[in-house]
Protein backbone atom coordinates (compact mmCIF):
# COMPACT_ATOMS: atom_id res chain seq x y z
CA UNK A 1 0.00 0.00 0.00
CA UNK A 2 2.86 2.29 0.85
CA UNK A 3 4.41 1.52 -2.55
CA UNK A 4 1.38 2.78 -4.47
CA UNK A 5 1.20 5.90 -2.26
CA UNK A 6 4.85 6.61 -3.00
CA UNK A 7 4.37 6.07 -6.74
CA UNK A 8 1.24 8.24 -6.81
CA UNK A 9 3.04 11.08 -5.05
CA UNK A 10 6.07 10.78 -7.35
CA UNK A 11 3.99 10.78 -10.52
CA UNK A 12 1.82 13.57 -9.13
CA UNK A 13 4.59 16.15 -9.39
CA UNK A 14 4.91 15.75 -13.16
CA UNK A 15 1.72 17.66 -14.01
CA UNK A 16 2.49 20.21 -11.26
CA UNK A 17 5.93 20.85 -12.73
CA UNK A 18 4.61 21.08 -16.29
CA UNK A 19 1.77 23.43 -15.29
CA UNK A 20 4.07 25.62 -13.18
CA UNK A 21 6.52 25.94 -16.06
CA UNK A 22 3.62 26.67 -18.41
CA UNK A 23 2.80 29.65 -16.19
CA UNK A 24 6.42 30.83 -16.57
CA UNK A 25 6.15 30.49 -20.36
CA UNK A 26 2.81 32.32 -20.45
CA UNK A 27 4.13 35.11 -18.18
CA UNK A 28 7.21 35.72 -20.29
CA UNK A 29 5.09 35.70 -23.47
CA UNK A 30 3.35 38.76 -22.02
CA UNK A 31 6.57 40.75 -21.74
CA UNK A 32 6.23 43.74 -24.04
CA UNK A 33 8.87 44.13 -26.74
CA UNK A 34 10.62 41.77 -29.09
CA UNK A 35 13.21 39.41 -27.55
CA UNK A 36 15.60 39.93 -30.46
CA UNK A 37 15.68 43.71 -30.12
CA UNK A 38 16.10 43.23 -26.35
CA UNK A 39 18.96 40.85 -27.06
CA UNK A 40 20.61 43.27 -29.45
CA UNK A 41 20.27 45.86 -26.72
CA UNK A 42 19.81 48.80 -29.10
CA UNK A 43 22.66 47.82 -31.41
CA UNK A 44 21.59 48.63 -34.98
CA UNK A 45 21.15 45.49 -37.09
CA UNK A 46 19.95 44.75 -40.59
CA UNK A 47 16.61 43.08 -41.18
CA UNK A 48 18.42 39.93 -42.34
CA UNK A 49 20.35 39.64 -39.10
CA UNK A 50 17.17 40.11 -37.09
CA UNK A 51 15.34 37.50 -39.17
CA UNK A 52 18.22 35.02 -38.83
CA UNK A 53 18.31 35.57 -35.08
CA UNK A 54 14.53 35.09 -34.80
CA UNK A 55 14.87 31.84 -36.73
CA UNK A 56 17.78 30.66 -34.58
CA UNK A 57 15.79 31.28 -31.37
CA UNK A 58 12.71 29.61 -32.84
CA UNK A 59 10.70 32.82 -32.49
CA UNK A 60 9.39 32.54 -36.06
CA UNK A 61 7.49 29.39 -35.10
CA UNK A 62 3.85 29.37 -33.99
CA UNK A 63 3.30 29.83 -30.24
CA UNK A 64 2.28 26.24 -29.58
CA UNK A 65 5.54 24.96 -31.09
CA UNK A 66 7.51 27.52 -29.07
CA UNK A 67 5.67 26.25 -25.99
CA UNK A 68 6.55 22.62 -26.69
CA UNK A 69 10.17 23.63 -27.34
CA UNK A 70 10.19 25.53 -24.06
CA UNK A 71 8.92 22.50 -22.13
CA UNK A 72 11.48 20.27 -23.81
CA UNK A 73 14.22 22.72 -22.94
CA UNK A 74 12.97 23.07 -19.37
CA UNK A 75 13.17 19.30 -18.92
CA UNK A 76 16.62 19.03 -20.50
CA UNK A 77 17.92 22.20 -18.87
CA UNK A 78 18.70 23.91 -22.17
CA UNK A 79 17.61 27.50 -21.64
CA UNK A 80 19.71 29.04 -24.42
CA UNK A 81 22.23 31.82 -23.95
CA UNK A 82 22.00 34.86 -21.72
CA UNK A 83 21.27 38.14 -23.55
CA UNK A 84 23.95 39.95 -21.57
CA UNK A 85 26.84 37.50 -21.26
CA UNK A 86 26.08 35.23 -24.26
CA UNK A 87 26.96 32.25 -22.06
CA UNK A 88 24.68 29.22 -21.69
CA UNK A 89 22.15 29.98 -18.94
CA UNK A 90 22.50 26.57 -17.33
CA UNK A 91 26.26 26.91 -16.83
CA UNK A 92 25.75 30.41 -15.38
CA UNK A 93 23.25 28.98 -12.90
CA UNK A 94 25.65 26.12 -12.15
CA UNK A 95 28.43 28.58 -11.33
CA UNK A 96 26.30 30.57 -8.91
CA UNK A 97 24.47 27.66 -7.29
CA UNK A 98 27.14 26.66 -4.72
CA UNK A 99 27.13 30.20 -3.24
CA UNK A 100 23.37 30.18 -2.78
CA UNK A 101 23.30 26.62 -1.46
CA UNK A 102 25.99 27.31 1.15
CA UNK A 103 24.09 30.43 2.25
CA UNK A 104 20.82 28.46 2.42
CA UNK A 105 22.50 25.70 4.42
CA UNK A 106 24.02 28.22 6.83
CA UNK A 107 20.69 30.01 7.22
CA UNK A 108 18.83 26.76 7.75
CA UNK A 109 21.32 25.70 10.42
CA UNK A 110 21.05 28.99 12.34
CA UNK A 111 17.27 29.08 11.90
CA UNK A 112 16.68 25.47 12.94
CA UNK A 113 18.93 25.59 16.01
CA UNK A 114 17.64 28.96 17.23
CA UNK A 115 14.01 28.22 16.33
CA UNK A 116 13.97 24.80 18.03
CA UNK A 117 15.68 26.15 21.14
CA UNK A 118 13.27 29.06 21.51
CA UNK A 119 10.22 26.99 20.58
CA UNK A 120 10.98 24.26 23.14
CA UNK A 121 11.78 26.86 25.81
CA UNK A 122 8.44 28.59 25.28
CA UNK A 123 6.38 25.44 24.70
CA UNK A 124 7.40 23.59 27.85
CA UNK A 125 6.14 26.41 30.08
CA UNK A 126 3.39 28.11 28.11
CA UNK A 127 1.80 31.38 29.25
CA UNK A 128 4.64 32.31 31.59
CA UNK A 129 7.17 35.12 31.35
CA UNK A 130 9.68 33.03 29.38
CA UNK A 131 6.97 32.17 26.90
CA UNK A 132 5.88 35.80 26.50
CA UNK A 133 9.48 36.94 26.05
CA UNK A 134 10.35 34.23 23.56
CA UNK A 135 7.17 34.75 21.56
CA UNK A 136 7.78 38.50 21.33
CA UNK A 137 11.29 37.72 20.09
CA UNK A 138 9.89 35.27 17.55
CA UNK A 139 7.43 37.87 16.28
CA UNK A 140 10.25 40.40 16.10
CA UNK A 141 12.24 37.87 14.06
CA UNK A 142 9.34 37.55 11.63
CA UNK A 143 8.96 41.32 11.41
CA UNK A 144 12.64 42.11 10.86
CA UNK A 145 13.42 43.19 7.33
CA UNK A 146 16.29 40.82 6.58
CA UNK A 147 18.01 43.41 4.39
CA UNK A 148 17.98 45.83 7.32
CA UNK A 149 19.20 43.39 9.96
CA UNK A 150 21.95 42.33 7.54
CA UNK A 151 23.17 45.91 7.32
CA UNK A 152 22.89 46.37 11.09
CA UNK A 153 24.96 43.21 11.60
CA UNK A 154 27.60 44.53 9.18
CA UNK A 155 27.62 47.86 11.04
CA UNK A 156 27.99 46.30 14.48
CA UNK A 157 30.18 43.25 13.89
CA UNK A 158 32.28 44.33 10.94
CA UNK A 159 32.57 48.10 11.25
CA UNK A 160 32.28 48.80 14.99
CA UNK A 161 33.72 45.61 16.51
CA UNK A 162 35.81 44.39 13.56
CA UNK A 163 35.16 40.75 14.45
CA UNK A 164 34.41 39.61 10.91
CA UNK A 165 35.52 40.90 7.52
CA UNK A 166 32.92 42.83 5.55
CA UNK A 167 33.85 41.24 2.26
CA UNK A 168 35.66 38.02 1.56
CA UNK A 169 35.23 34.37 0.81
CA UNK A 170 35.54 31.33 3.01
CA UNK A 171 33.50 30.15 5.95
CA UNK A 172 34.00 33.29 8.10
CA UNK A 173 32.32 35.49 5.53
CA UNK A 174 29.32 33.19 5.70
CA UNK A 175 28.61 33.88 9.39
CA UNK A 176 26.73 37.18 9.13
CA UNK A 177 24.75 36.24 6.01
CA UNK A 178 23.71 32.95 7.64
CA UNK A 179 22.51 34.78 10.76
CA UNK A 180 20.59 37.22 8.55
CA UNK A 181 18.76 34.42 6.75
CA UNK A 182 18.43 32.30 9.91
CA UNK A 183 16.81 34.96 12.13
CA UNK A 184 13.79 35.16 9.87
CA UNK A 185 13.41 31.38 9.77
CA UNK A 186 13.87 31.08 13.52
CA UNK A 187 10.87 33.29 14.29
CA UNK A 188 8.40 31.17 12.34
CA UNK A 189 9.90 27.88 13.42
CA UNK A 190 9.87 28.83 17.12
CA UNK A 191 6.15 29.58 16.95
CA UNK A 192 5.38 26.31 15.18
CA UNK A 193 7.43 24.19 17.56
CA UNK A 194 5.93 25.93 20.60
CA UNK A 195 2.37 25.27 19.40
CA UNK A 196 3.24 21.70 18.56
CA UNK A 197 4.83 21.04 21.96
CA UNK A 198 1.82 22.50 23.80
CA UNK A 199 -0.46 20.25 21.77
CA UNK A 200 1.58 17.10 22.40
CA UNK A 201 1.93 17.86 26.11
CA UNK A 202 -1.81 17.73 26.53
CA UNK A 203 -2.08 14.21 25.07
CA UNK A 204 -3.05 11.22 27.21
CA UNK A 205 0.11 9.27 26.46
CA UNK A 206 2.26 12.04 27.91
CA UNK A 207 0.17 11.98 31.09
CA UNK A 208 0.63 8.20 31.15
CA UNK A 209 4.38 8.55 30.69
CA UNK A 210 4.52 10.97 33.62
CA UNK A 211 2.19 8.81 35.70
CA UNK A 212 4.28 5.70 35.31
CA UNK A 213 7.19 7.60 36.81
CA UNK A 214 9.45 8.25 33.80
CA UNK A 215 12.08 10.91 34.47
CA UNK A 216 10.81 14.27 33.07
CA UNK A 217 13.84 14.65 30.78
CA UNK A 218 13.08 11.29 29.18
CA UNK A 219 9.44 12.27 28.68
CA UNK A 220 10.53 15.46 26.95
CA UNK A 221 13.18 13.78 24.81
CA UNK A 222 11.48 10.55 23.88
CA UNK A 223 7.78 11.35 23.88
CA UNK A 224 7.20 15.08 23.54
CA UNK A 225 10.02 16.06 21.18
CA UNK A 226 9.55 13.11 18.84
CA UNK A 227 5.87 13.80 18.33
CA UNK A 228 6.16 17.57 18.36
CA UNK A 229 8.75 17.76 15.63
CA UNK A 230 6.52 16.30 12.89
CA UNK A 231 4.09 19.18 12.24
CA UNK A 232 6.84 21.84 11.99
CA UNK A 233 8.78 19.52 9.69
CA UNK A 234 6.00 19.61 7.11
CA UNK A 235 6.34 23.35 7.05
CA UNK A 236 10.03 23.14 6.16
CA UNK A 237 8.86 23.31 2.55
CA UNK A 238 7.40 26.73 3.24
CA UNK A 239 10.60 27.58 5.08
CA UNK A 240 12.52 26.69 1.94
CA UNK A 241 10.58 29.42 0.14
CA UNK A 242 11.64 31.81 2.90
CA UNK A 243 15.22 30.63 2.44
CA UNK A 244 15.07 31.51 -1.25
CA UNK A 245 13.59 34.91 -0.41
CA UNK A 246 16.22 35.39 2.28
CA UNK A 247 18.98 34.42 -0.14
CA UNK A 248 17.81 36.90 -2.82
CA UNK A 249 17.94 39.75 -0.32
CA UNK A 250 20.98 38.66 1.66
CA UNK A 251 23.14 38.22 -1.42
CA UNK A 252 22.34 41.80 -2.31
CA UNK A 253 23.13 43.16 1.17
CA UNK A 254 26.43 41.35 1.49
CA UNK A 255 27.32 41.78 -2.19
CA UNK A 256 27.63 38.01 -2.42
CA UNK A 257 27.36 36.15 -5.72
CA UNK A 258 24.46 33.72 -6.06
CA UNK A 259 21.25 32.77 -7.85
CA UNK A 260 19.18 35.46 -6.11
CA UNK A 261 21.50 38.31 -7.00
CA UNK A 262 21.72 36.98 -10.54
CA UNK A 263 17.91 36.85 -10.86
CA UNK A 264 17.47 40.47 -9.75
CA UNK A 265 20.18 41.62 -12.14
CA UNK A 266 18.60 39.58 -14.94
CA UNK A 267 15.21 41.25 -14.36
CA UNK A 268 16.77 44.72 -14.25
CA UNK A 269 18.71 44.12 -17.48
CA UNK A 270 15.72 42.38 -19.15
CA UNK A 271 17.79 39.24 -19.72
CA UNK A 272 14.76 36.99 -20.20
CA UNK A 273 16.47 33.65 -20.99
CA UNK A 274 18.30 34.01 -17.68
CA UNK A 275 15.11 35.01 -15.81
CA UNK A 276 13.32 32.03 -17.37
CA UNK A 277 16.13 29.62 -16.51
CA UNK A 278 16.41 30.73 -12.89
CA UNK A 279 12.64 30.69 -12.33
CA UNK A 280 12.29 27.23 -13.89
CA UNK A 281 15.17 25.84 -11.81
CA UNK A 282 14.02 27.38 -8.49
CA UNK A 283 10.37 26.40 -8.92
CA UNK A 284 11.45 22.90 -9.92
CA UNK A 285 13.69 22.62 -6.87
CA UNK A 286 10.92 24.02 -4.64
CA UNK A 287 8.36 21.47 -5.88
CA UNK A 288 10.80 18.55 -5.62
CA UNK A 289 11.89 19.56 -2.10
CA UNK A 290 8.28 19.86 -0.98
CA UNK A 291 7.64 16.38 -2.34
CA UNK A 292 10.73 15.05 -0.55
CA UNK A 293 9.47 16.56 2.72
CA UNK A 294 6.04 15.01 2.17
CA UNK A 295 7.68 11.63 1.62
CA UNK A 296 9.80 11.94 4.77
CA UNK A 297 6.67 12.97 6.66
CA UNK A 298 4.90 9.89 5.37
CA UNK A 299 7.78 7.67 6.47
CA UNK A 300 7.95 9.17 9.98
CA UNK A 301 4.19 9.10 10.49
CA UNK A 302 2.67 5.98 8.91
CA UNK A 303 -0.85 7.42 9.36
CA UNK A 304 -0.21 9.76 6.42
CA UNK A 305 0.66 7.14 3.83
CA UNK A 306 -2.28 5.01 4.89
CA UNK A 307 -4.75 7.78 4.10
Amino acid sequence: MRGTWLLRRLLGIIPTLLLTWSVVFAALQMVPGDPVSLMLGGTPASQEVIQAERHRLGLDQPVHLQYLNFLRHAVTGDFGASFTTRQPVLSMIGEQLPFTLSLAAGGLLVGAVLGTLLGVLAGLRPNGWTDAGVMTMALAGLSLPSFWIGMVLIHVFATLLGWVPVIGTGPVSLILPSITVGLFLAGGLARLIRASIIEVQGQDYIRTAHAKGLPPLLVVGKHIARNAVIPPLTLLGVQFALLIGGAVVTERVFARPGIGAMLVDAVLSKDYPLVQGIVVVTTGAYIVINLAIDLVYGLIDPRISRQ
Binding site: T16, L17, L19, T20, V23, V24, A27, L28, M30, V31, P126, N127, D131, T136, L139, A140, L142, S143, L144, P145, F147, W148, I149, M151, V152, I154, H155, T159, V166, A195, I198, F240, A241, I244, G245, V248, V249, R252, V253, L263, V264, V267, L268, K270, Y272, V275, V279, T282, T283, Y286, I287
Partner: protein, 286 residues
Protein backbone atom coordinates in the same frame (compact mmCIF):
# COMPACT_ATOMS: atom_id res chain seq x y z
CA UNK B 1 -30.31 33.37 8.58
CA UNK B 2 -26.62 33.04 9.12
CA UNK B 3 -25.12 30.63 11.62
CA UNK B 4 -22.95 32.00 14.41
CA UNK B 5 -23.49 35.74 14.54
CA UNK B 6 -20.23 37.64 14.14
CA UNK B 7 -18.94 39.07 17.40
CA UNK B 8 -19.75 42.78 17.74
CA UNK B 9 -16.83 44.88 16.52
CA UNK B 10 -16.48 46.85 19.74
CA UNK B 11 -16.19 43.74 21.90
CA UNK B 12 -13.58 42.28 19.55
CA UNK B 13 -11.63 45.53 19.65
CA UNK B 14 -11.72 45.61 23.46
CA UNK B 15 -10.50 42.01 23.65
CA UNK B 16 -7.75 42.67 21.13
CA UNK B 17 -6.49 45.72 22.97
CA UNK B 18 -6.62 44.00 26.38
CA UNK B 19 -3.34 42.27 25.51
CA UNK B 20 -0.37 44.54 26.23
CA UNK B 21 1.48 43.49 23.06
CA UNK B 22 -1.46 44.28 20.79
CA UNK B 23 -2.04 47.57 22.61
CA UNK B 24 1.59 48.54 22.06
CA UNK B 25 1.27 47.50 18.41
CA UNK B 26 -1.89 49.58 17.97
CA UNK B 27 -0.22 52.62 19.55
CA UNK B 28 2.89 52.35 17.35
CA UNK B 29 0.66 51.94 14.31
CA UNK B 30 -1.43 54.95 15.32
CA UNK B 31 1.73 57.08 15.64
CA UNK B 32 3.07 55.91 12.26
CA UNK B 33 -0.27 56.46 10.50
CA UNK B 34 -0.68 59.89 12.11
CA UNK B 35 2.89 60.74 11.10
CA UNK B 36 2.23 59.67 7.52
CA UNK B 37 -1.06 61.55 7.24
CA UNK B 38 0.14 64.71 8.97
CA UNK B 39 3.59 64.60 7.36
CA UNK B 40 3.13 67.83 5.31
CA UNK B 41 2.26 69.71 8.52
CA UNK B 42 4.81 68.08 10.79
CA UNK B 43 8.00 67.65 8.78
CA UNK B 44 10.64 70.32 9.25
CA UNK B 45 11.85 70.06 5.62
CA UNK B 46 10.49 69.03 2.26
CA UNK B 47 11.26 65.32 1.70
CA UNK B 48 12.82 65.98 -1.68
CA UNK B 49 14.62 69.23 -0.98
CA UNK B 50 18.35 68.74 -1.38
CA UNK B 51 21.10 70.57 0.41
CA UNK B 52 19.05 71.43 3.51
CA UNK B 53 22.07 70.07 5.39
CA UNK B 54 25.58 68.82 4.74
CA UNK B 55 25.88 65.58 2.75
CA UNK B 56 25.66 62.51 5.00
CA UNK B 57 25.60 64.76 8.10
CA UNK B 58 25.20 62.83 11.37
CA UNK B 59 22.01 63.12 13.44
CA UNK B 60 21.83 66.40 15.33
CA UNK B 61 19.34 68.67 17.12
CA UNK B 62 18.20 70.19 13.82
CA UNK B 63 18.28 66.97 11.77
CA UNK B 64 17.18 64.23 14.15
CA UNK B 65 17.85 61.30 11.81
CA UNK B 66 20.80 62.90 9.98
CA UNK B 67 21.06 63.60 6.26
CA UNK B 68 21.45 61.51 3.12
CA UNK B 69 23.89 61.74 0.23
CA UNK B 70 22.04 64.66 -1.34
CA UNK B 71 21.71 66.62 1.88
CA UNK B 72 18.04 65.72 2.36
CA UNK B 73 16.58 65.50 5.87
CA UNK B 74 16.11 61.79 6.68
CA UNK B 75 13.50 62.41 9.42
CA UNK B 76 11.23 64.15 6.92
CA UNK B 77 11.77 61.36 4.41
CA UNK B 78 11.07 58.59 6.94
CA UNK B 79 7.82 60.29 7.98
CA UNK B 80 6.72 60.66 4.36
CA UNK B 81 7.87 57.11 3.68
CA UNK B 82 5.03 55.84 5.86
CA UNK B 83 2.64 57.04 3.17
CA UNK B 84 4.24 54.75 0.62
CA UNK B 85 4.91 51.68 2.69
CA UNK B 86 1.56 51.62 4.51
CA UNK B 87 -0.65 52.40 1.52
CA UNK B 88 1.27 50.06 -0.75
CA UNK B 89 1.00 47.31 1.88
CA UNK B 90 -2.77 47.80 2.14
CA UNK B 91 -3.18 47.81 -1.66
CA UNK B 92 -1.15 44.61 -1.85
CA UNK B 93 -3.29 42.77 0.67
CA UNK B 94 -6.42 44.09 -1.04
CA UNK B 95 -5.35 42.41 -4.29
CA UNK B 96 -4.71 39.07 -2.53
CA UNK B 97 -7.90 39.36 -0.47
CA UNK B 98 -10.29 40.29 -3.28
CA UNK B 99 -9.02 37.88 -5.91
CA UNK B 100 -7.91 35.06 -3.60
CA UNK B 101 -10.99 35.36 -1.39
CA UNK B 102 -13.40 35.40 -4.30
CA UNK B 103 -11.68 32.52 -6.06
CA UNK B 104 -11.62 30.41 -2.90
CA UNK B 105 -15.28 31.11 -2.12
CA UNK B 106 -16.48 30.36 -5.63
CA UNK B 107 -14.61 27.07 -6.08
CA UNK B 108 -15.37 25.90 -2.54
CA UNK B 109 -19.06 26.65 -3.02
CA UNK B 110 -19.28 25.21 -6.53
CA UNK B 111 -17.57 21.94 -5.54
CA UNK B 112 -17.14 19.05 -7.96
CA UNK B 113 -15.11 19.57 -11.07
CA UNK B 114 -14.77 23.33 -10.66
CA UNK B 115 -13.33 22.80 -7.19
CA UNK B 116 -10.94 20.14 -8.45
CA UNK B 117 -9.72 22.41 -11.27
CA UNK B 118 -9.48 25.44 -9.00
CA UNK B 119 -7.52 23.51 -6.37
CA UNK B 120 -5.13 22.39 -9.09
CA UNK B 121 -4.65 26.00 -10.16
CA UNK B 122 -3.93 26.98 -6.54
CA UNK B 123 -1.38 24.14 -6.29
CA UNK B 124 0.36 25.36 -9.43
CA UNK B 125 0.52 28.93 -8.11
CA UNK B 126 1.87 27.61 -4.81
CA UNK B 127 4.60 25.91 -6.84
CA UNK B 128 6.29 29.29 -6.93
CA UNK B 129 8.14 30.61 -3.90
CA UNK B 130 6.29 33.94 -3.31
CA UNK B 131 9.37 36.12 -3.91
CA UNK B 132 10.11 34.35 -7.21
CA UNK B 133 6.49 34.78 -8.30
CA UNK B 134 6.64 38.48 -7.37
CA UNK B 135 9.92 38.98 -9.25
CA UNK B 136 8.48 37.17 -12.29
CA UNK B 137 5.44 39.48 -12.27
CA UNK B 138 7.72 42.54 -12.01
CA UNK B 139 9.75 41.15 -14.92
CA UNK B 140 6.56 41.17 -16.98
CA UNK B 141 5.03 44.45 -15.76
CA UNK B 142 8.24 46.42 -15.34
CA UNK B 143 9.68 48.02 -12.20
CA UNK B 144 7.71 50.55 -10.15
CA UNK B 145 6.08 50.83 -6.77
CA UNK B 146 2.52 49.95 -7.85
CA UNK B 147 3.72 47.12 -10.08
CA UNK B 148 5.60 45.76 -7.08
CA UNK B 149 2.41 46.01 -5.00
CA UNK B 150 0.48 44.17 -7.70
CA UNK B 151 3.24 41.56 -7.94
CA UNK B 152 3.26 40.82 -4.21
CA UNK B 153 -0.55 40.88 -4.21
CA UNK B 154 -0.72 38.33 -7.02
CA UNK B 155 1.85 36.15 -5.29
CA UNK B 156 -0.45 36.14 -2.22
CA UNK B 157 -3.60 35.08 -4.11
CA UNK B 158 -3.08 31.29 -3.82
CA UNK B 159 -2.50 31.49 -0.05
CA UNK B 160 -5.77 33.38 0.44
CA UNK B 161 -7.65 31.19 -2.01
CA UNK B 162 -6.59 27.99 -0.28
CA UNK B 163 -7.62 29.09 3.21
CA UNK B 164 -10.91 30.64 2.06
CA UNK B 165 -11.78 27.54 0.02
CA UNK B 166 -11.25 25.39 3.11
CA UNK B 167 -13.42 27.67 5.24
CA UNK B 168 -16.12 27.72 2.53
CA UNK B 169 -16.15 23.92 2.30
CA UNK B 170 -16.86 23.62 6.01
CA UNK B 171 -19.61 26.26 5.81
CA UNK B 172 -21.35 24.75 2.78
CA UNK B 173 -22.24 21.64 4.77
CA UNK B 174 -23.91 23.60 7.57
CA UNK B 175 -27.71 23.60 7.93
CA UNK B 176 -28.24 27.29 7.33
CA UNK B 177 -26.77 27.05 3.84
CA UNK B 178 -28.93 24.01 3.08
CA UNK B 179 -31.86 25.96 4.49
CA UNK B 180 -31.12 28.91 2.22
CA UNK B 181 -31.08 26.59 -0.77
CA UNK B 182 -34.30 24.95 0.40
CA UNK B 183 -36.19 28.26 0.49
CA UNK B 184 -34.98 28.93 -3.05
CA UNK B 185 -32.16 31.45 -2.56
CA UNK B 186 -30.02 31.64 -5.71
CA UNK B 187 -26.25 31.10 -5.68
CA UNK B 188 -25.21 34.75 -5.73
CA UNK B 189 -27.52 35.48 -2.82
CA UNK B 190 -26.18 32.54 -0.82
CA UNK B 191 -22.60 33.74 -1.39
CA UNK B 192 -23.42 37.37 -0.61
CA UNK B 193 -25.82 36.99 2.30
CA UNK B 194 -24.72 33.78 3.96
CA UNK B 195 -21.21 32.73 2.99
CA UNK B 196 -19.36 36.05 3.00
CA UNK B 197 -20.65 37.27 6.41
CA UNK B 198 -19.61 33.96 7.93
CA UNK B 199 -16.25 34.01 6.18
CA UNK B 200 -15.59 37.50 7.55
CA UNK B 201 -13.64 36.38 10.66
CA UNK B 202 -11.41 34.15 8.50
CA UNK B 203 -10.88 36.98 6.01
CA UNK B 204 -10.08 39.50 8.76
CA UNK B 205 -7.57 37.13 10.37
CA UNK B 206 -5.92 36.33 7.03
CA UNK B 207 -5.71 39.98 6.10
CA UNK B 208 -4.28 41.10 9.41
CA UNK B 209 -1.73 38.29 9.42
CA UNK B 210 -0.70 39.02 5.84
CA UNK B 211 -0.48 42.81 6.06
CA UNK B 212 2.89 42.80 7.82
CA UNK B 213 4.23 40.38 5.28
CA UNK B 214 2.87 42.53 2.43
CA UNK B 215 4.54 45.69 3.77
CA UNK B 216 7.78 43.76 4.18
CA UNK B 217 7.65 42.13 0.73
CA UNK B 218 6.93 45.33 -1.19
CA UNK B 219 9.73 47.08 0.72
CA UNK B 220 11.96 44.13 -0.19
CA UNK B 221 11.23 44.60 -3.90
CA UNK B 222 12.00 48.31 -3.55
CA UNK B 223 15.22 47.44 -1.76
CA UNK B 224 16.15 45.18 -4.67
CA UNK B 225 15.52 48.09 -7.05
CA UNK B 226 12.37 46.47 -8.49
CA UNK B 227 9.79 48.62 -6.68
CA UNK B 228 9.76 52.31 -5.72
CA UNK B 229 12.45 54.26 -7.55
CA UNK B 230 14.51 57.20 -6.31
CA UNK B 231 13.84 59.86 -5.21
CA UNK B 232 10.64 58.37 -3.70
CA UNK B 233 11.00 58.28 0.10
CA UNK B 234 9.91 54.64 0.32
CA UNK B 235 11.59 52.86 3.24
CA UNK B 236 12.91 49.92 1.19
CA UNK B 237 14.27 52.22 -1.52
CA UNK B 238 15.90 54.43 1.16
CA UNK B 239 17.58 51.35 2.60
CA UNK B 240 18.85 50.45 -0.85
CA UNK B 241 20.37 53.91 -1.16
CA UNK B 242 21.83 53.69 2.36
CA UNK B 243 23.44 50.31 1.62
CA UNK B 244 26.58 51.94 0.32
CA UNK B 245 27.15 54.12 3.36
CA UNK B 246 26.90 51.54 6.16
CA UNK B 247 30.48 52.29 7.10
CA UNK B 248 30.48 56.07 6.94
CA UNK B 249 26.87 57.09 7.54
CA UNK B 250 24.95 54.20 9.14
CA UNK B 251 22.03 56.53 9.97
CA UNK B 252 21.07 56.52 6.29
CA UNK B 253 19.94 52.92 6.74
CA UNK B 254 19.26 52.68 10.50
CA UNK B 255 16.20 54.96 10.65
CA UNK B 256 14.26 53.90 7.55
CA UNK B 257 14.85 50.27 8.55
CA UNK B 258 13.73 50.89 12.12
CA UNK B 259 10.54 52.53 10.83
CA UNK B 260 9.87 49.55 8.56
CA UNK B 261 10.56 47.09 11.37
CA UNK B 262 8.30 48.97 13.80
CA UNK B 263 5.47 49.15 11.26
CA UNK B 264 5.63 45.43 10.45
CA UNK B 265 6.02 44.45 14.12
CA UNK B 266 3.06 46.65 15.11
CA UNK B 267 0.84 45.15 12.40
CA UNK B 268 1.92 41.63 13.39
CA UNK B 269 1.27 42.25 17.11
CA UNK B 270 -2.28 43.42 16.37
CA UNK B 271 -2.84 40.72 13.72
CA UNK B 272 -1.65 37.95 16.01
CA UNK B 273 -3.98 39.00 18.79
CA UNK B 274 -6.86 39.48 16.38
CA UNK B 275 -6.40 35.94 15.13
CA UNK B 276 -6.49 34.63 18.72
CA UNK B 277 -9.71 36.51 19.42
CA UNK B 278 -11.48 35.67 16.16
CA UNK B 279 -10.20 32.20 15.31
CA UNK B 280 -12.22 29.63 17.25
CA UNK B 281 -9.43 27.06 16.98
CA UNK B 282 -7.07 29.40 18.82
CA UNK B 283 -9.48 30.17 21.66
CA UNK B 284 -8.44 29.00 25.08
CA UNK B 285 -4.87 28.44 24.04
CA UNK B 286 -3.45 31.66 25.34
Amino acid sequence: MSGAAPAPARRVLRRVLSAPGALAGALILAVLIAGAILAPLVVPYDWNETRVCARLAAPSATHWFGCDLYGRDIFSRVLYGGRYSLSVGIATVAVSLIFGGLFGTVIGYAGGRIDALGTRAIDVMLGFPPIIMAILVVAVLGVGVWNAALAVGIAGIPRFARVVRGATLSLVEREFIEGAHAIGADRTRVIRRHLLPNLAPTLIVLTSLDLGNAILSTATLSFLGLGAQPPAPEWGAMLNAGREFIRYAPWTMLFPGAALFLAVMAVNLVGDRLSQVLDPRQRGRS
